[in-house]
């Protein structure tokens, strides 16, 4: 006779699910609306998405208050783990998404936005990311990861160009391989410890003193490979440039921010306890990853001829830079990771939005690709304001003070210094200098070259609408006046990270 299962609703703590469920509900609503009346204008869906994201945001504010009062919350059979990392990363995810979705309001018509499914998938994807970060259960991480990834592949493909499909296929195939790696790694951990919850794995491994270090390393290898793929760490990065190029500029910008922060949070949960337990191997590997990724991606970015592809490599390099935080593993480093990412998202979103705004339907003869450098030649003469803003984003990406990303770099390098990684700090600094070259290259084209014949500057704003301009304006203001907001953001993040025990 089976004993009746008695689960009280309070113990489930369903509120922990609220932030994830809101976008799911939103997605369903969009699908339902479409079911009743198809062919509605995209603005409706944009606004619905925004509304739900806003509600999501409110829910997050709510859970952040709960966190600051009562600390880490578990829920739904301890599957959900609402700690500082989860909340912070969800904030980044939701805010970045809110900034992204208005980019659908382009002047020109693009294929993907005419489908309501685009917006539904988008919201599903956000839910997936949120699940991924708000748990330490490897199963749920897997589910969240795949939910979001599958949605993302589709969103990329919906851009409906040859390159988009190619990008989607490449991303998809490699993603599938990465999924295999992930499940294999989880399996080994499960075999070693009998658990798929990270804190339990940590506890059991710690209890037996990492007796089977060889197997632990195998598990780490596969998990590392799968997250290295997601985070585009060299040599697992090969998808990134192609996918960025194939995807629309707005989607590329989004991809450079949101999936990565989700992956970073999981990586922090997974790897930092190992580093702290003295797994030297992982430290060495991560060190190598950080250095190689930063440097190699920078070198490749140097030789690009297309701005978007350059930005793809630059995003890889930035990811490598931030990866250092996981290696260093101090509270300051983890804080720096979020801090950097907040600032990075403003700047990078801004620069990709600028590319998006200049997206042409048809390429003129002199242009070899959508966003080749030539296209921006002499922009200061034909579209000075746009040129200034684009230049601003480039300088910020290069880490020039006082623009947003400088503060991120500052804090990140400082955490390396504080953590005792002096050489790493120097390498990080010098890599920023190398990176300066390719950002500067665009500035050079914009400010110091003569415009190509027949370019009247219209091309740079061909896609502009009020919505796009607003987003770019927000990004620009965020980039310039970051120094005002540094302190509150830093204090907020530090408190959350510290209270989560990282």
């Amino acid at each position: 006779m089976l004993a009746p299962i008695n689960v009280s609703l309070e113990s489930l703590n369903l509120m922990t699910l609220a932030p994830m469920l809101i976008p799911v509900v939103g997605a369903l609503l969009i699908l339902v609306v479409d079911l009743f009346k198809g062919g509605l204008h995209k603005s409706l869906y944009v606004v619905i998405s925004l509304l739900f994201l806003f509600m999501d945001f409110v829910a997050l504010v709510d859970s952040s208050e709960i966190f600051s009062q009562s600390g880490i919350t578990l829920g739904v059979f301890n599957l959900m783990l609402i700690d500082g990392l989860a909340i912070l990363s969800q904030f980044i995810i939701v805010i970045a998404s809110m900034l992204f979705i208005p980019l659908a309001m382009t002047h020109k018509r693009f294929h993907e936005f005419s489908y309501p499914e685009f917006f539904a998938l988008f919201l599903f994807m956000i839910a997936g990311f949120q699940f991924m970060v708000a748990t330490d259960n490897l199963i749920l991480v897997f589910v969240g990861l795949e939910t979001s990834s599958l949605a993302l592949y589709t969103l990329i493909a919906m851009h409906n160009r040859d390159k988009s499909f190619e990008a989607a296929v490449k991303y998809f195939t490699m993603g599938a391989l990465a999924a295999g790696f992930y499940s294999f790694g989880s399996m080994v951990f499960y075999a070693l410890t009998g658990s798929v919850e990270i804190h339990q794995i940590a506890a059991i491994l710690g209890a037996n003193g990492y007796a089977d270090i060889g197997y632990v390393l195998v598990a780490i290898t596969f998990l590392l490979a799968s997250f290295a793929f997601k985070l585009s760490i060299v040599p697992f990065h090969t998808w990134a440039p192609d996918v960025y190029e194939g995807a629309s500029a707005s989607m590329a910008g989004y991809m450079s921010i949101v999936p990565k922060i989700a992956a970073f949070v999981v990586a922090m949960r997974l790897f930092e306890f190992l580093i702290h337990s003295g797994v030297v191997w992982l430290e060495v590997i991560l060190y190598a990853f950080v250095v190689i990724t930063m440097t190699a991606a920078n070198m490749w970015a140097l030789v690009q001829t297309d701005v978007k592809r350059m930005l793809a490599y630059s995003s890889i390099s930035h990811a490598g830079f931030v990866m250092a935080a996981i290696l260093i593993g101090t509270t300051q480093a983890n804080t720096a990771l979020f801090f950097y990412w907040v600032l990075f998202s403003f700047t990078n979103l801004g620069s990709f939005s600028m590319l998006w705004m200049s997206r042409q339907k048809h390429l003129p003869d002199h242009q070899s690709s959508d966003h080749s450098y030539d296209k921006f030649a002499g922009m200061i003469k034909t579209a000075p304001v746009a040129a200034l803003i684009m230049g601003l984003f480039m300088l910020s990406l290069a880490g020039l003070p006082p623009f947003a990303l400088f503060w991120g770099k500052l804090y990140m390098i400082s955490s390396a210094v504080t953590g005792g990684y002096t050489v790493l700090a120097l390498i990080m600094a010098l890599n920023s200098a190398i990176a300066g070259y390719y950002y500067l290259k665009l500035v050079v084209y914009m400010f110091m070259k003569e415009p190509v014949m027949g370019n009247d500057g219209q091309v740079y704003v061909s896609n502009a609408t009020l919505a796009l301009k607003t987003i770019i304006g927000i990004a620009a203001i965020g980039t310039i006046f970051a120094f005002v907001a540094i302190n509150p953001i830093l204090e907020f993040i530090t408190a959350f990270v510290y209270n989560s025990g990282y």
Binding site: I380, K381, L395, A398, G399, L400, P401, P402, F406, W407, L410, Y411, I413, S414, V417, T418, T422, A425, L426, A429, L430, S432, A433, G436, Y437, L440, K441, V443, V444, F447, M448, K449, F483, I486, N487, L490, E491, T494
Partner: protein, 518 residues
């Protein structure tokens, strides 16, 4: 208003630049000149209100920026920075006023105003990060000025300038972060305030490393041999106004930073590295002077001469005594005035002939006597003729260093010989002989707009050469404080020996003041 005079000095030009976007193209010059004149007036007011007898910081402002990480917006001036700020304001003013007709004049003037913000900011900042912010930010307007209005190689030159300096300063940034970390370890509080750092006594081996990190940043900026090769390109390609500002103010950031950071923070390391740096300085002096002599382009002569003079400044700085450091600060101002003027002068003939090659000229003293005269004054100042501004600085720098090493000073002293060689040779090629080229026969002498810049510079050159006291005295007071601080902080015997203790010599100081009363 005086409480915030430094902030006003920094941000007024920036604000004005932003408003400048709204100004009609034709009116922009007038606007630029008036803004720069107001700024200059403010800087003079700062000087006027400055108490020359106080050695410490004045007009301090403190505003928390990122208090949790110890970054505060701290400003202040002392005798060391005051005059460079005034000089920056002055040069921006005359630079805009004497600007020749350029394409996109509006962009140029707005850029110059932004540049002014960064320049004043660097010299007024008393927080390492704020300093760094302005330091780096100053690269951008200069990048644009060189890259957009420069010669045929302008893009190469500007990118090289930017990246080289950028790379160096990033290393410096790592050093700063280290410094803050040590401060944190020592006190439990993060702070980037330079005055806080002054209180920190570091173990010597740490000092050496940190000194090296800061050195990379500063040395590239100065630029010191062998990090100097960006400078000839930058000067060679930059438009006149760019070269003027670059030589007059931007290079001084490096040497200023040595005095603001390296010496007081790392007295032992400074003493330790004194000889190697002096040797580099001597190489700068002699080697670049010889390279300057080999140049065919008159602007390159002046560019290399800048490096040579910066060598003397570095030497004076690392004399580690009051005479030398005061001299090097004075020489910074002097070199600013003189090299700025020389670049303006080169610009004058470039505007007329669109070439800077010396073999294209010859004998133009016949057709442009006024120009030749002013050039001659600046030439003499550049070779360190007494009663010109340069001599005071050079004399004091060398005098100061003589206390540390006789042989090295003797070698460095060849500056007055090699300097004369290349300058006189260049002057001879440009001005002496018969007018051989047809194009040169009808060259117009300097016009009013050019005189507007050149006459005040000539006056300053001679005035401060004869009566340097108003500038030298505040410098001296602040430098004495720095030297005393260094002496007190020094831990190694070497440093104690090389850095004089001023307290013992109180008697001497009073004697001096008695003499002064007399």
């Amino acid at each position: 208003m005086l409480d915030h005079i430094l902030s006003i000095l920094i941000f007024f030009p920036a604000l004005a630049a932003i408003f400048g976007f709204m100004i009609q193209k034709d009116a922009i010059r007038a606007y630029g000149v008036s803004v720069a004149a107001i700024e200059f007036g403010l800087s003079l007011w700062l000087w006027f209100a400055f108490d020359g007898n106080v050695s410490g910081m004045q007009f301090m402002e403190n505003l928390p920026l990122v208090p949790s990480f110890g970054i505060n917006y701290i400003l202040g001036v002392d005798g060391i920075s005051l005059f460079i700020i005034v000089l920056a304001a002055f040069f921006t003013m005359i630079g805009i006023a004497s600007l020749t007709d350029t394409p996109n004049e509006k962009n140029m003037i707005i850029t110059l105003l932004f540049l002014q913000m960064t320049m004043v900011g660097v010299f007024a900042a008393l927080d390492a990060i704020v300093f760094y912010v302005f330091w780096e930010l100053s690269l951008v307007p200069m990048l644009y000025i060189i890259g957009a209005w420069g010669g045929p190689l302008r893009i190469y030159a500007s990118v090289k300038f930017f990246l080289y300096t950028f790379a160096g300063s990033l290393v410096m940034l790592v050093g700063m972060l280290f410094m803050a970390y040590f401060y944190y370890q020592a006190t439990g509080v993060w702070s980037f305030a330079i005055l806080d750092w002054y209180r920190l006594i570091l173990p010597e081996n740490l000092q050496l490393w940190l000194f090296a990190a800061f050195f990379v940043g500063f040395a590239i900026k100065v630029p010191m041999f062998p990090f100097h090769t960006w400078l000839p390109y930058a000067h060679g390609q930059a438009p006149t106004i760019g070269s003027v500002i670059l030589a007059a103010i931007l290079l001084k950031m490096g040497t200023y930073a040595f005095i603001r950071f390296s010496l007081p923070l790392f007295p032992d390391a400074s003493a330790f590295f004194m000889v190697p740096i002096a040797i580099i300085a001597i190489i700068m002096i002699i080697y670049t002077a010889m390279v300057a002599y080999a140049q065919k382009d008159v602007k390159q002569v002046v560019a290399y001469s800048s490096i040579s003079h910066m060598g003397v400044i570095i030497l004076g700085t690392f004399a580690l005594n009051v005479e030398g450091i005061s001299g090097s600060i004075f020489l910074m101002i002097a070199h600013g005035v003189v090299s700025g003027a020389l670049f303006l002068l080169v610009g004058v003939i470039y505007d007329r002939r669109h070439t800077k090659m010396m073999d294209q000229f010859g004998g133009i003293a016949h057709v442009m006597p006024r120009y030749a005269t002013i050039f001659g004054i600046m030439l003499m100042a550049s070779v360190g003729m007494p009663l010109t501004i340069n001599f005071v600085g050079e004399f004091l720098s060398l005098l100061g260093f003589y206390q540390q090493s006789h042989i090295l000073t003797l070698l460095a002293g060849t500056a007055i010989i090699v300097g004369a060689i290349y300058m006189l040779a260049a002057y001879k090629k440009l001005f002496f002989g018969e007018v051989t080229k047809e194009e040169n026969k009808n060259l117009k002498d300097v016009n009013k707009r050019e005189l507007l810049a050149l006459i005040p510079l000539s006056i300053i050159t001679i005035w401060l050469g004869i009566y340097p006291k108003p500038v030298l005295e505040p410098i001296n007071n602040s430098v004495e404080a720095v030297v005393q601080l260094m002496h007190n902080k020094a831990t190694s015997d070497l440093a104690k020996e090389r850095i004089p203790n001023l307290v013992e010599e109180v008697v001497v100081i009073t004697k001096t003041s008695v003499q002064e009363v007399h």
